[in-house]
Every structure is written in structure tokens, then in C-alpha cells.
């Protein structure tokens, strides 16, 4: 019997906001333990939460980027469980009326485009961080109360690689939207993986196994691959699976049971009486919608269509949004956008990394690269000279035409002058000249090089070739 995997992901992402979800403490990573704390995020007696407007906006924006609806009513619930890093011993989250619902993410996978449905993206609060020492433990509450978005997919993923690509696509969307830095090292993205397997053709789902608290995408891929194989193995051997929560051991590359359904938590959710429901107005939703930006996949497709770029080039500009924006400005009105793309990806990027500069620091006008390409294509300068002109542009910010003018770099296309260069080259190099006459075509390139050198690159290479042939052939 053949089996298939069914995977759903719950991804927790810290929102990038100035302050925490319920108080004015700074939302930042890496501060000294328990310095970004106050009575509210420490859960002292008597405090009350006040929702962070920026977090509500970024949540709605995320929902829109994930093609979700933003309902006119959402509310907060208390999820009750005791843990030392949980200051109130209940976590504020959204159980049945989340901020955003029912969307999808599209991403490229295995040569095609996949669509994974999003059940919801809801807002909750992060908890503190425990550190265990030899004979005691410490809790740092700097992270407690940081706004945390939980993005839940439908069980639409069918394999470990697909789950991995979905996560990469999701990360790209969140980074593009400016809603999260998605820094895995800082624990800003954590993932719970729900996996079951079933015989192909069966419609009902198999027993769901949840792998908790994954903090790397490659870990998710490895854990999912392992778990699918393990579950299929159990079934093939005639065994049965029970609903359970498992832990991924990254070092050993295996999952192991944490708890089964019987001892699952009863979180005793109920609506938080300290917070009013969030009932965004149409105007508020429209304001957020006005900030929606183009997503990576859409951008890639548009760059390919509008500028006739190959997929690889488009991906470079999607991956580096600032460079991509620069390219679009530079390619505006350019007749050969692909040539402009080459200049941006190769020369400009090299110069920027050489000088540790950013796109914003480029001195020349964004139209200059297009002009430079025009000079080459119009035969005004050679490609060789164009390289020098670019360096000059980068250093001084001057327009390419001005540089060519000032430095007298215009290509020599006067046939009399060129003929003189050609004759000199032939006279100075009788051997190669003879070779060419005897049918060795490659010898022509050597002579051409000599002419270019003598002209300090300014000779029109095409005319030089023709002239050399003419002289040697006569």
C-alpha cells in the first residue's frame, strides 16, 4: 500500500513593533535580562493590558498579505496554564474570533506553483525565557508580552520539502511586509508541525502527531521527513499510531514522544474580561489596506513580464528588495532592460560591496545606467570603455555622457584614422598577419586587440575587424 503525508504548520512570528503588546516596554532582543520590564508585562497584582495599535495594524496587514479576511470583530481569550515563564499564568490569545481568517500563500515548488490555505493569522503574546543552571533556573521577562503572530495553515502540505518551501515563502512575505524581521537566531520564528499519514485514496486524516517548538526551517524539513517515514513504517508493520505530541532531537535526528492526548492540557479558554473586542472600522481597514505592498512571487512575475528578465535575474531583485527597486528606477524607459539588469547585478553590486555602500548612497542618477547602455549600443563607446566610465560614474556621480565628453572617450569611427592604426598593427606583427592570410581566423583577434590597445580602447571594434580583413584580403 502506498501512503501520503498530510502536514499543517503553526508558525509563531514575533512582530516588529516599537513596544510590547500590552505595555510601553521596548520590544527589543538582546538587552540585559529583566531590563525591558514593567508591572504590566511582569504580571504584578492589579495591572491591566492595553492593546498596541501598531501590532493590531501589522496583524491586519499580515492577514492582507496572506490573502485573509479582516473581520470587523475579533476578541481576546485567556489560555490558562502554569509555567514559570508565563507571568500571568494565562496567555492572551485569540481563540474563536481571530484578527484575520481564511487566506492562502502561493509559492513556487517543484517546477510549479503551490497554494496553501491559511486558516488564520491571530495575535497573541510571547512569554519569558527560562534558563536552567546547575541547581536553579532563571527567567528573563524581556520577551514576555512581545506581540506574537500565530499563522496556521490548513493541512495542505504534502511533504517535507514542500513545508520547507512554504516556510521560506512565508518568511519572504513577512520580511517584505516589514511585519517581522524573522530572525531565526533570535527566536523570532518558531514552528509547530502537525503530521499524519494515510493510504493514498483515503479521505479521512490519520492520527495527528504534533512536533512542538521547531526553531529552524531546515529542522522542520528534517523532522517532517523523519516523521513521515516513521509513521509509514509503523503502519506498514501493522502497528497503529496515536495522537501525540513529539519532540525533535536535532542532534540524533529523531522525534520522541512528549505526551499523548490523554494528558494533554485543558487550557480552559475564556474571553478576557480586561480587554474590549477589537472592532476595526471600514476606514481603519482601508488605511491598512493602502499600505499593502507587492509580494515576492508577484514581483518576480512582474519583473519577468515587464522587463523580459530571466527568472534568475528576477529572483536576485526579489531577494534584495532595495537593489530591485533601484533596478526598476534604472530600467525605466531603457530600451534594453536586461542590459541594465546586468550592470546593476554585476557592476553596481560589486562596487557597493567593495565600498560597503548601500543602494541609497549611489551618487549618480538612476537613469545613468540606462544612458550608459545607450552609449554602448549606439556605438558611441566600446564595452571596454563603458567599464571605465562606470567606475568614474560611481566615484563622481557624473553623467556618463559628460564623462565620455570630458575624457575624450568617444569611440573612433573615422575610417582614415582607424586604417592608420590597422596598418601599424599589421606592420608591427607580420607573423599573425601572415597567419590570417593563410586562413587562421583567430589571428585576426590578436591584431584587433593590438589596434584597440593602440587606440586606448576607443577604436570601434566592429569597424576595426572589417578594416583589418579588407587590408589583409587585398
Amino acid at each position: 500500500m502506498e501512503y501520503e503525508a498530510v502536514i499543517g504548520l503553526e508558525t509563531h512570528v514575533q512582530l516588529r513593533t516599537r513596544t510590547k503588546m500590552w505595555c510601553g516596554c521596548v520590544n527589543e532582543y538582546g538587552a540585559e535580562a529583566n531590563t525591558n520590564v514593567c508591572p504590566v508585562c511582569l504580571g504584578l497584582p492589579g495591572v491591566l493590558p492595553v492593546p498596541n495599535a501598531e501590532a493590531l495594524r501589522k496583524t491586519a496587514l499580515t492577514g492582507m498579505l496572506l490573502n485573509c479576511d479582516v473581520p470587523g470583530f475579533s476578541k481576546w481569550d485567556r489560555k490558562n496554564y502554569f509555567y514559570p515563564d508565563n507571568p500571568k499564568n494565562y496567555q492572551l490569545t485569540q481563540l474563536d474570533f481571530p484578527s484575520t481568517i481564511e487566506g492562502f500563500v502561493e509559492f513556487e515548488f517543484d517546477g510549479g506553483t503551490e497554494r496553501v490555505r491559511i486558516n488564520r493569522a491571530h495575535l497573541e503574546e510571547d512569554v519569558g525565557k527560562s534558563t536552567h543552571f546547575a541547581d536553579y533556573s532563571g527567567v528573563d521577562f524581556n520577551r514576555a508580552g512581545v506581540p506574537l503572530l500565530e499563522i496556521v495553515t490548513e493541512p495542505d502540505l504534502t511533504g517535507a520539502d514542500m513545508a520547507y518551501e512554504y516556510l521560506n515563502a512565508l518568511k519572504a512575505i513577512l520580511e517584505y511586509g516589514g511585519v517581522s524581521d524573522c530572525d531565526m537566531e533570535k527566536g523570532q520564528v518558531r514552528c509547530d508541525v502537525n503530521i499524519s499519514v494515510r493510504p493514498i485514496g483515503q479521505t479521512e486524516l490519520g492520527e495527528k502527531i504534533e512536533i512542538k517548538n521547531m526553531n529552524s526551517f531546515s529542522g522542520v524539513r528534517r523532522a517532517a521527513a523523519y516523521e513521515i517515514e516513521r509513521q509509514i513504517g509503523v503502519l506498514r508493520e501493522g502497528g497503529s499510531l496515536v495522537q501525540e505530541t513529539r519532540r525533535w532531537d536535532d542532534a540524533l535526528g529523531i522525534t520522541e514522544s512528549m505526551r499523548t492526548k490523554e494528558d494533554a492540557h485543558d487550557y480552559r479558554y475564556f474571553p478576557d474580561p480586561d480587554l474590549m473586542p477589537h472592532t476595526p472600522s471600514d476606514e481603519w481597514i482601508a488605511e491598512v489596506r493602502a499600505t499593502v505592498m507587492e509580494l515576492p512571487l508577484a514581483r518576480k512575475r512582474r519583473l519577468m513580464a515587464d522587463y523580459q528578465l530571466p527568472a534568475g535575474d528576477a529572483e536576485v531583485f526579489v531577494g534584495d528588495a532595495a537593489l530591485g527597486e533601484y533596478f526598476e528606477a534604472a530600467a525605466k524607459g531603457a530600451r534594453n532592460p536586461k542590459a541594465v539588469a546586468n550592470w546593476v547585478m554585476n557592476n553596481l553590486q560589486a562596487k557597493l560591496s567593495e565600498t560597503n555602500g548601500a543602494v541609497a548612497d549611489v551618487k549618480f542618477e538612476s537613469s545613468a545606467i540606462g544612458e550608459l547602455v545607450g552609449l554602448v549600443e549606439g556605438g558611441k563607446i566600446s564595452s571596454r570603455i563603458a567599464q571605465d566610465v562606470f567606475v568614474e560614474m560611481f566615484e563622481t556621480g557624473k553623467a556618463p555622457a559628460i564623462i565620455v565628453e570630458e575624457k575624450g572617450l568617444s569611440q573612433v569611427s573615422d575610417s582614415g584614422e582607424l586604417e592608420e592604426f590597422c596598418n601599424e598593427a599589421i606592420t608591427a606583427n607580420p607573423g599573425p598577419a601572415e597567419d590570417f592570410r593563410n586562413g587562421k581566423e583567430a589571428a585576426l583577434n590578436f591584431l584587433k586587440g593590438q589596434v584597440m590597445k593602440a587606440s586606448r580602447g576607443k577604436a570601434n571594434p566592429q569597424m576595426v575587424g572589417e578594416l583589418l580583413k579588407k587590408i589583409l584580403g587585398s
Partner: protein, 487 residues
């Protein structure tokens, strides 16, 4: 005898230079030293800090700060041990908070400070405001100043005792199901529960967040109006606070209640209503009628479900609200081999019986499989109860009833029977479920010399009518001027 004065009497004398705040504060401190040994109204107080505030108030007055700018300038106000005062103990009359001092001020504390009050004392109460007798305090019961064998009511028992026994000029309490009105009635002072959302809850340690409200306990209705004017108003730190403008409540005290329509709920003629209480309430109603109010019988058909509904919603909220007390970040801690064992040991040792009982009840009603039958259904009944009142308020401006079914009972009399204890909240509890405002004013004494209270309930944000009627009634009686003899 400055400690026996009302706020309005004291502020007049302070303004005229007849008294200083130091005189008044010292008088309260002397009174505490003299009588609190038998009353146990104060869990703690800091005389030096109180006198320093009094001196600062006197200095401010000397430098020209007026009583209009600061309506409580130099007035000693005592605080229930559930309201945060920066740098002072915050124990909620529980052992579990250990030696915790609040590092911040509640919004009401800030507002009192801005009004110039001398904030002093931590008033005894039922642990975490759970109770109707102040017997549930981890630091011993407070006692009724009219008869120290009797309970003072609760949970704001200490706040009521201190006002009645003239240990302070006024106090703040909190009311979740009657915890201001009931002890005010049983001690013979005025207790006002404002409309839910009228006063910020920021800095009030939560018992049941959707029911809790801070309010004043005072020697007369005018003082209640003054106090409410100070503590009411918008607070961005409390999302459930309603940004309704704060009227001048003292301006409402015209004495004129002609044409005011007052409802008498037929469902409040319950078994177990003490005949003396009924007689006193009837007399008070007759007095209000004499003043020109119109009485109407009204119906609140869901009254019988109020107590059950309350004990589901309040305990559910409390079970989560009290989860934070486990010794990890603050308060008392009993060590254990694991976080879970530490948690169990700490909470087992730190909470009293009634608190544990309510946490267990609340945990149960929220449990998977029971949520719909209990919590969800209770919320629906709560809506019906609120609707009962809103319907009634279509026809009447206020509702009158006894505050409590009986006068103060004996200490220990009901502590073995929680259900009997819960029933003593029968007239006060619906007001919290429906989000109304309510007041208790003294309306007589039992044959045994125990105070009785008249309760008036008002529409949401109807404090103006409430205070006007309570004041008009008070003008015709002398009950509020009676004081217990204590030696």
C-alpha cells in the same frame, strides 16, 4: 475631634485655618491607637508617612493651593488592601503576597494624590475580596464597631469599620457583588458602588474583572459625591473604562426628588428577609415618597438566578486572575523540587480556604466539557438579568431595596456554611452582574442596636440621580450621624 468630621466639614475647617491636616491626621492616628486593637480594621499603617503627607498638604495650602483645585487637600483617606499604593504593602489580606510592596500607584491612588489626599493605611478585608464578613482575612477578622462579636460585613469590612469608628475621614473599597454596600450597611456608613467602567480598575487587584469596581465608603452622601468626583473618569490604562464625562456630583445634591420614580422589585420579598430590615426599608421608602418620589412595583424576573450566575462568572474569572500568585516573581514562596511542586506548595500554603474553594469552582466551570453548561450559560443568564434591569429602568429612575437581608451576624455564625454566606449578597449581587451603580445609606437600627442599610440602584452612569435621592433621604434622618461607643 477632627477625626469625627466628614470630608466637607474638615475641608471647610482646613480652608478657614481652624485646623491643619496634621491635626486631622494625628487625630486619626490617635483614634487608631485607641480603638483598632478591638476592631482590626487596619492591617498596617505608616504614621510617619501619613504625617509627612499631611505636612506637605498644609504647606501647599499655606502656599496658596486652594480647596477647589485640590478637593481633598489634607484629608486622610484609608485604602482597602487590594488597591496599589506605590511603596506600600499590597497583600489583599492574603499570606501569599508575603512582604510584597507595590512598585506603582493605582489610577485611583494617583487621582487621590492629585486631589491632595493623605493616603494612609491598609484596610482589612476578606482575602482577595472573597467574602461577605471579613472573616476570610488571613490576618484575623475585622469587627463590627457597634458590637465587636459581630462581623462588619465584607469584603471591604476594614474600610467600613474605619469610617464608622472615625479612624479615617473616608476610605476606598471595592465591590464585586456587594463588597462596598454590604459592609457599609452593616456598619452604618455610606457605601457607593459606581457603574462598571466609571472608575479605573488599574491598580485594583482583580477578583472578578468584569464585576469589580472601586468606590468610596464615607460618613455621608455628600462625601460619597466628592470622592466619586475625584476618582471617576477616563483612564487609558483600563480598556474597560468608559470615557463618559464626569459631572459635578455635589451639584446634584439639591434635596429635590419630586417626580423621581423609584421601583420596588416584587422578587425582593424573599424568605429570610429579616422583619426589622423590612420595616426599616419600608419606612425609608415611605420617607422618599413623602419627599415627592413616586413608587412603583417592578419585576426583575431572573432575580432567582443571580447568585448562581454570579458564583460561576466570578469564580471563573478569579481562577485565572489568581493564577499569577505562585511565588516565581514576587510574594511568598514555598520551595519545591520542580516548578510544579513549588507552585503547588506555594499556593497550598498561601491561599485561605474560601479562596481555594472559589479557584476550584472557577477551574471546574471552565473545564473542557463543562464550559458550555456553566460559564457560557451563566453569561447568557447575565444578559437576561441585565435586560431585566434595563427594562425596569424604562419605567423608573431608581430601584430601592434593603442592602442586606439581615443585620450583621455573629462572627463564626456562617463561616461553616458558604452557601448561607453567599445568600447574604442576594440584594447587592445583581447590580454588578448588570453593570449598574448602587449605594447603601443608613436607614435605622435593629433592636439589638445594629445598623441597617437602604440600597438604591441606578442606571448605568446614573450616579447623579442615585446620589440626589440618597442625599434627600439622608437629610430627613439622623441615622448617618450615629456613632458607636468604643472605649
Amino acid at each position: 475631634m477632627p477625626h469625627t468630621l466628614t470630608i466637607s466639614q474638615l475641608t471647610d475647617k482646613l480652608a478657614q485655618g481652624e485646623l491643619t491636616s496634621r491635626d486631622a491626621t494625628q487625630a486619626c492616628l490617635d483614634r487608631i491607637a485607641a480603638v483598632d486593637g478591638q476592631l482590626n480594621a487596619f492591617l498596617s499603617h505608616d504614621p510617619d508617612d501619613a504625617l509627612a503627607q499631611a505636612d506637605a498638604a498644609d504647606a501647599a495650602r499655606a502656599s496658596g493651593v486652594s480647596g477647589e483645585a485640590k478637593p481633598l487637600l489634607g484629608v486622610p483617606i484609608a485604602m482597602k488592601d487590594v488597591i496599589a499604593v506605590n511603596g506600600h504593602p499590597l497583600n489583599c489580606a492574603s499570606k501569599i503576597l508575603g512582604d510584597f510592596n507595590s512598585p506603582y500607584d493605582a489610577t485611583v491612588t494617583q487621582k487621590l494624590r492629585e486631589a491632595g489626599a493623605v493616603i494612609f493605611g491598609r484596610m482589612n478585608m476578606d482575602e482577595f475580596a472573597m467574602g461577605s464578613s471579613t472573616e476570610n482575612s488571613a490576618f484575623g477578622p475585622a469587627r463590627n464597631p457597634w458590637n465587636t462579636d459581630r462581623i462588619p460585613g465584607g469584603s471591604s469590612g476594614g474600610s467600613a469599620v474605619a469610617v464608622t469608628a472615625d479612624e479615617c475621614i473616608a476610605s476606598l473599597g471595592s465591590d464585586t457583588g456587594g463588597s462596598i454596600r454590604q459592609p457599609a450597611a452593616l456598619c452604618g456608613c455610606v457605601g457607593l458602588k459606581p457603574t462598571y467602567g466609571r472608575v479605573s480598575r488599574y491598580g485594583l487587584v482583580a477578583f472578578a474583572s468584569s464585576l469589580d469596581q472601586i468606590g468610596p465608603l464615607t460618613k455621608d452622601v455628600r462625601d460619597a459625591a466628592i470622592m466619586l468626583g475625584v476618582i471617576a473618569g477616563e483612564d487609558k490604562r483600563d480598556s474597560t473604562n468608559v470615557p463618559e464625562p464626569v459631572p459635578d456630583y455635589t451639584a446634584a445634591l439639591t434635596g429635590d426628588i419630586k417626580g423621581l420614580k423609584i421601583g420596588l422589585p416584587k422578587e425582593y420579598q424573599v424568605d429570610g428577609l429579616d422583619p426589622e430590615v423590612k420595616a426599616a426599608t419600608d419606612a425609608a421608602v415611605a420617607e422618599l415618597e413623602k419627599q415627592g418620589a413616586e413608587m412603583r412595583e417592578i419585576s426583575l424576573p431572573h432575580t432567582e438566578y443571580a447568585i448562581a450566575t454570579y458564583y460561576i462568572i466570578a469564580t471563573a474569572e478569579a481562577s485565572a486572575n489568581l493564577a499569577r500568585f505562585e511565588g516565581v516573581r514576587y510574594g511568598a514562596r514555598v520551595d519545591g523540587a520542580s516548578p510544579e511542586q513549588m507552585n503547588r506548595a506555594t499556593r497550598g500554603a498561601g491561599f485561605g480556604e474560601e479562596v481555594k474553594r472559589r479557584i476550584i469552582l472557577g477551574t471546574y466551570v471552565l473545564s473542557s466539557g463543562y464550559y458550555d453548561a456553566y460559564y457560557l450559560r451563566a453569561q447568557k443568564v447575565r444578559t437576561l438579568i441585565r435586560q431585566d434591569f434595563l427594562n425596569a429602568f424604562e419605567e423608573v429612575d431608581l430601584i430601592a431595596s434593603p442592602t442586606t437581608p439581615t443585620p450583621a451576624f455573629k462572627i463564626g455564625e456562617k463561616s461553616g456554611d458558604p452557601l448561607q454566606m453567599y445568600l447574604s449578597d442576594i440584594f447587592t449581587i445583581s447590580c454588578n452582574l448588570a453593570g449598574l451603580c448602587g449605594i447603601s445609606v443608613p436607614c435605622g437600627f435593629s433592636n439589638e442596636g445594629l445598623p441597617l442599610g437602604l440600597q438604591l440602584l441606578g442606571k448605568p452612569f446614573g450616579e447623579t440621580d442615585l446620589l440626589r435621592a440618597a442625599h434627600a433621604y439622608e437629610q430627613t434622618t439622623d441615622w448617618h450621624n450615629k456613632r458607636p461607643e468604643l472605649d
